[in-house]
Symmetry: C2
Subunit: 555 residues, 2 copies
């Protein structure tokens, strides 16, 4: 056995859908030269991460080994693959490679954080390759729901690894490059050690549908509409935005782009040449002067985001434009699990305004960007790798995908975040377990997911907050009574008296009775006051609040 | 025109799915004698109602008119129809009528709240009727996903109204009564003024499927399983529980009921005679002594509820029973929109333990309890009412249902909570707008949704909480420095100094500089301290926290 090894280590994206970050390395154990594939974010929610702005993968392990990091490669420009790039750029200090469109998006992020323009280097597609220490990396164009997505061909002394990136097998993707089986056969000919493979749609039993299929349906819908038409999709789905815009144009409608992400994506796609012949757009100001049945608004907010253009239109106005009875709103998108409440809220707000809402429940106005189960089988069959390592999926997706590969006679393993896999031998084996986690961007501060900050917020949200203040003089005698401040709790409870007064009475009574030993001891006094406040609240309002105790000594 | 009128007033359930509460009345305006149909709850979530235990309809309007309330009728025993009954029993003071199974469930709720046994009266089915002032009410058996669901036939001097309740058109419901078109034709023969009708599935384009269809599929799945089988469904879906149990029995498995709701529902169904021949069950203790491939656990928690049996099994153990690699978990249920996160969490926890999870995505193991679009059309066609008033739906459902009825030549209106509809004339008309809302049961206290209590909790969850304390002496001079207590905020920010220290320094500096006028004025001082704390936090951690200020005067 060689003393050098080829490793794979997911730090994000394996065991979850979001914040992708995959490390590969080659070399002597613990001296491997490393590359990082993707560096994305995931989005917070009120359930588990209230108040958090963005969730980033925990990069501690890699930061501590930044001297061994050769380069970062970004497969495509979705936020869950590129969104964290600027947040870790200084700490990782490695060059970032991406294809032109992705690089354009990544550079905008770098600029916002004050990083240099040349922080992101533009990579040419396969057969061009980039040398990264003992590894050589090529960007193989692959169809997905964003332009210039790529699989990575990672060659090492221990063999070839293919990192699929996010993909679907689309022969006619409208914008961007199609899936080309012949090219995949060609690159797989010499044998592939491991295929690290997108698992998102492993539970979808039918072959995926091409982007081109939605065009005629969208065109029918828009051409039949009589009022204003508003459509939303992921702004980064440039092909869909193009399909929508062209359907609008053919129906004699002027196109208006609403929402910052929508304008930026089209701008990036035009700048980098991936999008040509996009219909002319009119500004929101011009639109307000035009007949509404001549308008097609393409707006951000397909996931019900409260501040996006769609949500603002649903609530009332956006940039001077208002929806009216008889307008049509099209979700040319799928609701990501967990976002249902926000999307449904918007649907009902539009309904209240008399707007007809059409979503993808009929399957006519949206197709997925990920490979379904038969597509995965097809790719496995073309590549015939020694091992399939599922990535980009929750645990259930990885497990199902591993079974699928194993059933077809390939080696596989369920490798979740933090599992370092040795790919050198004939089967994948666990080389190490790395501590991983999540980092929250909270305002301008990065906090660890386990720091307790967000846990305290959730507790206040569930239980309310009582602040108890007592003042003691030089002799540890109470100066006056205890006071309470409550927040997030009802003003009165069972006894119909003021909750604050009940709490203050119980606390003051305790304070007056408390022995000198307790009054001298901050910890003890705090503990007792907390206990009494919780007990008293429990009997009064039937719940135990969070309690903060402030002891002020006049000494 | 008569001086008396027939009115319909939804106080809950119209414009939302949940907390159903519909008032009907007949008499001179503002002197109508009233009945209430259903009195349900809706469930809180972290997004909008953190810490709340239960959401009840706002019954203020009806409580103020309790002297005009003749009776309460409960159509069926789902929580969104019966869940609030005990919470308002004293204040409404009217007799409650329900069919035997529903009454059994309702009585258990009454008992828990210390109300008398006879608070709930058992009604016999149509053609029996109950006189309620000028109204006569009959319970017409109708198929749904719970036993003894009923539509209400409400006869008034102004004509017959049919309140559909929740329903599907199921000729073979396994447990409970089938839909009988002949009976519906018979009751509609004399003309029906208004059909107040379930709208839940108006967007489902295909005819609904019968409960009996899932049996063979479930049986195939369970008989092929090799490890322990765990299945969840709504406990109240007694037919499904029976189908599951019988499939288990035929596969040679002993049935274990896990979760309080599961045991109670089966108990109620057996007690009231709606369920006969249920396979014998074994206790969890007995189950631990048996081979796992001889077991079928029927568990609560189909919606991912954290404390339910399914979630506890997914996390580890429940009542001594543990899942293992090779077990099978079946969701014989649909995930209600908004509950996806919780359900997916459980699926992944089971996946981590090697348990295969099967859900209803194939359509094989679950059928809905509500009428789909063609079923609604069928019922409209049989009843041919003068008016169709959609209920039990979000705004978008009501609107679509109203269009469906109007397209078929019936009068309709979108009537949301608080809209009092006059049904007396040839078309529905809005008679009044009543203020309605939601009441939160929070611990043991009922609070109004707009009281600000929950809003404060959400703010603390999003922004964290800072408590500022200052002490002033008799001359309004600061006694020492200002202190801060923080909760839900990071300990350090941009400057790397302690956030508390930075805040205290800025606040103390202000305090020392503040003029006597400010220091004398509690409101002014509080406002300034809050402003400074927020400003200081913003520059340090990039977010503005909630701030409570405690000013203590030694005077």
């Amino acid at each position: 056995m060689s003393s050098e090894r080829l490793i794979y280590l997911p730090l994000g994206g394996a065991g979850e859908i979001g914040m992708n970050a995959y490390v590969y390395g080659y070399g002597a154990p613990d001296k491997e030269r490393l590359i990082l594939v993707d560096l994305g974010v995931t989005f917070p929610d009120m359930d588990g991460t209230p108040g958090v702005d963005l969730i980033l993968p925990d990069m501690t392990w890699l930061k501590e080994r930044a001297d061994r990091l050769e380069a970062v490669f970004i497969t495509h420009a979705h936020e869950d693959h590129v969104g964290a790039i600027a947040h870790f750029y200084r700490e990782l200090g490695a060059p970032v490679y991406a294809r032109a469109f992705t690089a354009n998006i990544a550079r905008r992020k770098m600029e916002e954080h004050g990083h240099p323009e040349d922080a992101v280097l533009t990579a040419l597609p396969w057969p061009e390759t980039i040398e990264a220490g003992p590894l050589s990396v090529g960007f193989l164009p692959m169809s997905h729901s964003i332009p210039e997505s790529a699989a990575l061909i990672i060659d090492s002394p221990a063999g070839r690894v293919i990192h699929s990136g996010d993909f679907k097998l689309d022969p006619t993707p409208v914008v961007g490059e199609p899936f080309e089986p012949a090219v995949w056969q060609e690159i797989s000919k010499g044998g592939v050690k491991a295929l690290i493979c997108d698992s998102t749609n492993v539970f979808s039993p039918n072959p995926g549908r091409s982007e081109i299929e939605v065009g005629p349906e969208i065109e029918k819908l828009i051409s039949a509409a009589t009022g204003m038409v508003i459509a939303t999709t992921f702004a980064s789905n440039v092909a869909r935005v193009k399909t929508l815009a062209e359907a609008g144009q053919r129906a004699g409608r002027s196109v208006v782009l609403l929402g910052r992400a929508m304008r930026r994506m089209i701008e990036a796609a035009v700048e980098t040449g991936v999008l040509a012949g996009f219909p002319p757009v009119v500004s929101p100001e011009e639109a307000t002067e035009m007949p509404r049945d001549n308008l097609l608004l393409l707006v951000t907010g397909s996931q019900g985001e409260r501040r996006a253009a769609s949500a603002q239109l649903a609530r009332g106005k956006y940039r001077g434009i208002e929806v009216k009875e008889g307008d049509l709103f099209l979700f040319s998108s799928k609701t990501i699990p967990g976002n249902e409440r926000g999307v449904i809220r918007i649907m009902n707000q539009f309904s209240e305004k008399g707007v007809d809402v059409v979503d993808d429940s009929s399957g006519r106005y949206h197709v997925s960007g990920h490979a379904n189960r038969p597509d995965l089988e097809q790719l496995h069959g073309i590549v015939r790798p020694q091992m399939v390592i599922p990535m980009h999926g929750e645990h259930r997706h990885l497990r199902e995908h591993a079974k699928l590969a194993a059933d077809a006679g390939m080696q596989s393993i369920v490798a979740v975040n933090g599992m370092m896999i040795d790919l050198t031998g004939n089967a994948p084996s666990v080389a190490d377990y790395i501590e991983t986690g999540r980092t929250y961007l909270d305002g301008s501060v990065k906090i660890g997911a386990l720091d307790g900050v967000v846990r305290d917020r959730i507790r206040m949200a569930l239980n309310g907050h009582v602040v108890v203040t007592v003042i003691l003089d030089e002799d540890d005698e109470p100066l006056g009574e205890a006071w309470c401040e409550i927040k997030g709790l009802p003003e009165t409870g069972t006894s119909r008296a003021s909750l604050v007064e009940v709490l203050e009475e119980d606390l003051t009574q305790f304070l007056m009775r408390a022995g000198a030993k307790t009054r001298r001891d901050d910890d003890k006094l705090e503990g007792e006051l907390r206990r009494i406040a919780r007990q008293s609240a429990m009997s009064e309002i039937g719940k135990k609040p969070e309690v903060s105790v402030i002891i002020s000594r006049m000494a």
